[in-house]
């Protein structure tokens, strides 16, 4: 127990000072000890753990960001820009900077929507897309902001540490629907895309080719992603770039399409659904590939809304459907030149072989008549005349003589029944019937009557406009069959000259006798230029000589004895009009196939479209002095 004597009321200064000194020394000793301990903590941090903290400091400071390569441009054959990159702005959010929970993000979106219009769709797709991004990635919310929106955000940027408006290049298709079915479009990278691409190369990429050239040549167009090491502050804003490995821009593509020809074909179709495919037979390059109706690809680049998409989907004429590639049509009489060539080359007929047409054809032992289009028939006709007047009886007989399997085998060399291998995805195969096919597909025997109508391109035969054009090109090119090519040349960044792309030769159809080929071409010449040609008059006043073949694809079967009266049949039940052509006859520079849906007779509806297409191409080709 401490007890102090109150009698010792006198302070002992000396004793106090002694006491103080002892206490002060002790205090100083303790202080020194503590400061040494504190200092040893700094030794631990700055010497022992230096490497670890140094690394963490560096990681803090430096962020590695992908550098998105500029997507390759797309030009037409004449150098017109048909797909370009336009500077635009998008809104992005880094969810981790607002705790990353949905209520906080909703509040942020509410706040942002006072500056930038955000639709329900955009907000929903932002939440949905979140799981495809890594932690601390910024996630796009809205693309293609208006100038007003960008300005409004910029002024208020300090209020939104988690959001940013980022410049980017937006894909634009200046010709809109005219080239949709060729180029396709790019769209926002979705979950399926992310699963299929090289993630390293696409880390910063927000768009990917969805269909058409954009999809087929995605790899070339995309280029190679670079990266940059940037110094960022605690708020994630980039302060400066420490190191940069530039992206390799995508390759510029030059397509063989000639926009002028494409436009001419497009215009000539008018408002009728249909398709035009034009190919340069010399190299297999595609000059025009029209499918009508189409739609504006620019709608799809930034993600089309559900409503707008349904609208496009339900439009009459199915604009999303690429008729040139996938449309399956009965070839009708446009198949006759190929059947004729098969007969000549296989020695079943000669150019002089004649057949009598009296308007009806019967298979021995059957009494079902197969008709000519002309009431009382065409009389005696040889191959040339049979083509000129499109005499069914000639080809009924020829088909019977050839048999379905020989016909199938010969015609398949021209690409019927298989994909042409064009460089856009989604092509249809069409159908070239045979006994084997019917047995396999339908488990039924082949009937002779089916051979008869196959001879005039009816029955099971299905072709796509692209197949038809490619077959014509092969025919006029002495049997050299190329895979049609849309890609004409490719130009890497920094390279002066574009590198020409050659269409691959699929096969050379054997030529037994050149006279056979000439006979068929002569027949097609007479279709346009002969006095009885089914398409006579279509080439009036042309500066070049055209050959062709008309065709009609039946949409519904007429009763055996009913007369076909075009005027009475409503348009949707009318036959499809077909026309194939090439020109100039002496040295063909273009082969074209035209389908006009429900157009009626090929000569009336389809041939003028072909003429317009040929004009657009040949007038400038001749004008350029490139006529061989």
């Amino acid at each position: 127990m401490i007890s102090y004597s109150h009698h010792r009321a006198i302070k002992d200064q000396h004793e106090e000072q002694q006491m103080f000194s002892r206490r002060a020394w002790l205090g100083f000793f303790i202080i020194t000890f503590c400061l040494v301990a504190l200092f040893s903590r700094f030794v631990w941090l700055q010497i022992v753990a230096f490497d670890s903290y140094s690394t963490r400091s560096e990681n803090n400071r430096v962020a590695v960001r992908p550098v998105v390569p500029n997507r390759g441009m797309i030009y037409d054959r004449r150098g017109r820009v048909i797909a370009e990159n336009r500077p635009a702005y998008r809104l992005e959010i880094t969810p981790e900077k607002v705790a990353g929970k949905k209520p906080e993000l909703e509040a942020l979106l509410d706040k942002l929507s006072k500056l930038i219009v955000l639709s329900k769709d955009e907000r929903a797709s932002f939440h949905k897309s979140r799981r495809h991004y890594r932690v601390f990635d910024s996630i796009p919310v809205k693309f293609n902001l208006s100038e007003r929106e960008v300005a409004r955000f910029s002024v208020n940027r300090h209020l939104f540490p988690a959001a940013d408006v980022v410049p980017y290049l937006s894909r634009n298709y200046p010709y809109g629907e005219l080239l949709t079915h060729v180029i396709g479009y790019v769209g926002r990278l979705d979950a399926d895309d992310i699963a299929s691409v090289d993630k390293g190369n696409y880390r910063g990429t927000r768009f990917i080719g969805k269909i058409g050239i954009e999809q087929f040549h995605e790899k070339a167009l995309h280029g190679t992603s670079g990266f940059e090491r940037v110094e960022t502050n605690a708020g994630g804003r980039v302060l400066n770039v420490l190191e940069r490995d530039d992206a390799i821009p995508g390759i510029d593509l030059i397509l063989s399409i000639d926009v002028a020809v494409q436009q001419a074909a497009w215009d000539a179709l008018g408002d009728r659904p249909g398709s035009v495919v034009a190919i340069d037979p010399i190299d297999g390059s595609v000059i025009a590939l029209v499918s009508k109706p189409a739609y504006d690809p620019n709608l799809f680049v930034h993600g089309i809304s559900q409503r707008a998409y349904r609208e496009v989907l339900n439009m009459p004429g199915r604009p999303l459907f690429n008729r040139a590639l996938k449309g399956g049509y009965e070839p009708g009489s446009t198949l006759k030149p190929f059947v004729g060539l098969a007969g000549l080359e296989l020695g079943v007929v000669t150019p002089q072989t004649r057949v009598f047409s009296n308007g009806e054809f019967f298979i021995e032992g059957y009494n079902r008549p197969y008709r000519d289009w002309k009431d009382k028939g065409h009389g005696w006709v040889d191959m040339r005349a049979a083509l000129e007047q499109s005499v069914n009886t000639y080809f009924y007989q020829l088909a019977m003589d050839l048999g379905i399997d020989r016909m199938h085998d010969y015609l398949s060399q021209f690409g019927f029944g298989s994909v042409t291998g064009i460089d856009i995805p989604g092509e249809g195969t069409g159908l070239l019937p045979s006994r084997a096919w019917k047995r396999a597909a339908r488990d039924e025997p082949w009937y002779p009557g089916e051979t008869v109508i196959a001879g005039i391109g009816q029955g099971f035969n299905v072709v796509t406009p692209l197949q038809l054009a490619s077959a014509v090109a092969t025919l006029v090119n002495g049997g050299a069959r190329y895979s049609p090519r849309l890609l004409y040349a490719a130009k890497s960044a920094g390279v002066e000259r574009a590198k020409q792309v050659e269409a691959p030769l699929v096969l050379q159809v054997p030529v037994n006798d050149p006279v056979s080929w000439q006979t068929v071409l002569d027949g097609m010449d007479r279709v346009v230029n002969g006095s009885r040609g089914t398409a006579r008059g279509v080439a009036v006043d042309a500066r070049y000589r055209t050959a062709g073949k008309t065709g009609t694809a039946q949409v519904y079967q007429l009763g055996e004895d009913k007369e076909y009266d075009e005027a009475e049949v409503i348009q949707s039940l009318r036959d499809h009009a077909l026309f194939i052509a090439f020109a100039p006859v002496e040295a063909p520079r273009i082969a074209v196939a035209v389908v006009v849906e429900h157009g009626g007779a090929g000569s009336k509806a389809a041939a003028p479209v072909a003429r317009a297409t040929l004009d657009a191409w040949l007038d400038q080709e001749i004008g350029r002095g490139r006529q061989p």
């Binding site: 401490i2 102090y4 010792r8 009321a9 006198i10 302070k11 002992d12 200064q13 106090e16 000072q17 006491m19 103080f20 000194s21 206490r23 002060a24 205090g27 100083f28 202080i31 020194t32 503590c34 400061l35 504190l38 200092f39 903590r41 700094f42 030794v43 941090l45 700055q46 010497i47 753990a49 230096f50 670890s52 903290y53 140094s54 963490r56 400091s57 560096e58 803090n60 400071r61 981790e96 110094e231 960022t232 502050n233 605690a234 708020g235 302060l239």
Partner: protein
């Protein structure tokens, strides 16, 4: 006419050793502040003006004899208590009530108490026989607990801690018996769990964070983690002045105030830290020396207590920045940005200088 200057103008009363040490520390502080503020010269100028004002205050006080200072003590203490109460009533500040706006200047009355409490305790013990009796201990505890609790209510844990410490140091230096001292320590240790109950939520978070900063690295743990990264990445010789990435890229929070030591350690490394600690240690040693040669009890106790309190500043701030102590708002003396704290500290050094320079005249 002959101009006759007062003698003190010709030979000002000061301690050159203290002055040199202070100038070195202040110079270092301004240099670090220039970097920590993102090279904001205006901020450095503001701080320089405050420090200049503080130095003037120091030099003025050092001219005043300790006897006079001692006489003022009860008044200063009384005014301080009244102001503290007023602060609780009408104080301004972000979420806390620390500042008192008195027209021209806004200042924190709690800062005043860092001086007034040791002065008052020393004043009370000065005429009495030491070591202190139970009654004296009780009165002393009352004298320091009233302002401590008032400051704690603001709430300002850091300052409350420093005020309490300054009073306790006075008591310690006055010869408080070891048994009593150890008894207090034991009592404090036993009361620690109870303390948890009276802590505010944000203070509890600081303790939780201190125990496990990585639990919430982007939230509560951010300060400690980033500060440690800054210090650790400084290495032996630092990244160089103005080259601290943690500081310039704004990773260190409060980098020009409470965490300025992290900026310093990042840019000047372990060697810089060593030099700075030695400067502080010399400052403390000089203070204790002045105390030991003082001629009266009040001066001795006051100078000793102020020196020991300076250690608490350095220890708590250094411990916080290096992650060995929880985050408590204690500035790095004379280096952290802020006026009131610096002026208070310099006023304290003014008293030490007065004690030093008047030692021969005290009876």
């Amino acid at each position: 006419m002959k101009l006759r200057l007062p003698t003190w103008l010709g030979a000002p009363r000061l301690d050159p050793v203290l002055l040199v040490l202070l100038v070195l520390i202040i110079g270092t502080g301004l240099m670090v502040l220039y970097s920590a503020s993102g090279q904001d010269m205006a901020m450095v100028k503001r701080q320089a003006i405050r420090l200049g004002f503080g130095v003037v205050v120091m030099l003025v006080i050092s001219q005043v004899p300790p006897l006079t200072l001692r006489r003022w003590t009860p008044w200063l203490y009384g005014i301080g208590i009244i102001l503290l109460m007023a602060t609780l009533g009408v104080g301004v500040g972000r979420g806390t009530q620390r500042w008192l706006d008195v027209g021209l200047v806004r200042f924190q009355p709690s800062e005043l108490m860092k001086l007034a409490v040791p002065m008052m305790v020393a004043w009370y013990l000065h005429p009495r026989v030491l070591p202190p009796s139970w009654k004296m201990i009780a009165v002393t505890l009352g004298l320091l607990l009233i302002p401590t609790l008032l400051i704690y209510r603001q709430p300002d844990l850091g300052t409350a801690l420093l005020v309490a410490a300054s009073g306790m140091f006075t008591l310690y230096l006055a010869g408080l018996r070891w048994r009593v001292l150890l008894g207090f320590a034991g009592l404090a240790a036993a009361a620690a769990p109870l303390l948890w109950l009276v802590l505010k939520e944000y203070q509890r978070n600081r303790v939780r964070t201190f125990l496990d900063p990585e639990a919430d690295p982007l939230g509560h743990g951010w300060n400690i983690i980033q500060s440690k990264i800054a210090v650790g990445s400084g290495g032996l010789s630092g990244k160089g002045w103005l080259n601290g990435t943690q500081s310039n890229l704004e990773f260190i929070p409060e980098r020009h105030t409470d965490f300025i030591l992290a900026v310093f350690a990042e840019e000047f490394g372990l060697l810089g830290v060593l030099v700075l600690m030695v400067l502080y240690l010399l400052l403390i040693a000089r203070g204790l020396y002045i105390a030991s040669i003082a001629r009266d009890t009040w001066s001795r106790l006051l100078a000793g207590a102020l020196s020991l309190t300076l250690f608490v500043y350095v220890m708590v701030n250094g411990g916080m920045v290096s992650g060995v102590l929880p985050v408590v708002g204690v500035p790095l003396p004379l280096i952290s940005y802020g006026g009131t704290s610096a002026v208070t500290l310099l006023a304290g050094f003014g008293m030490m200088m007065s004690i030093y320079s008047h030692r021969k005249f005290i009876s």
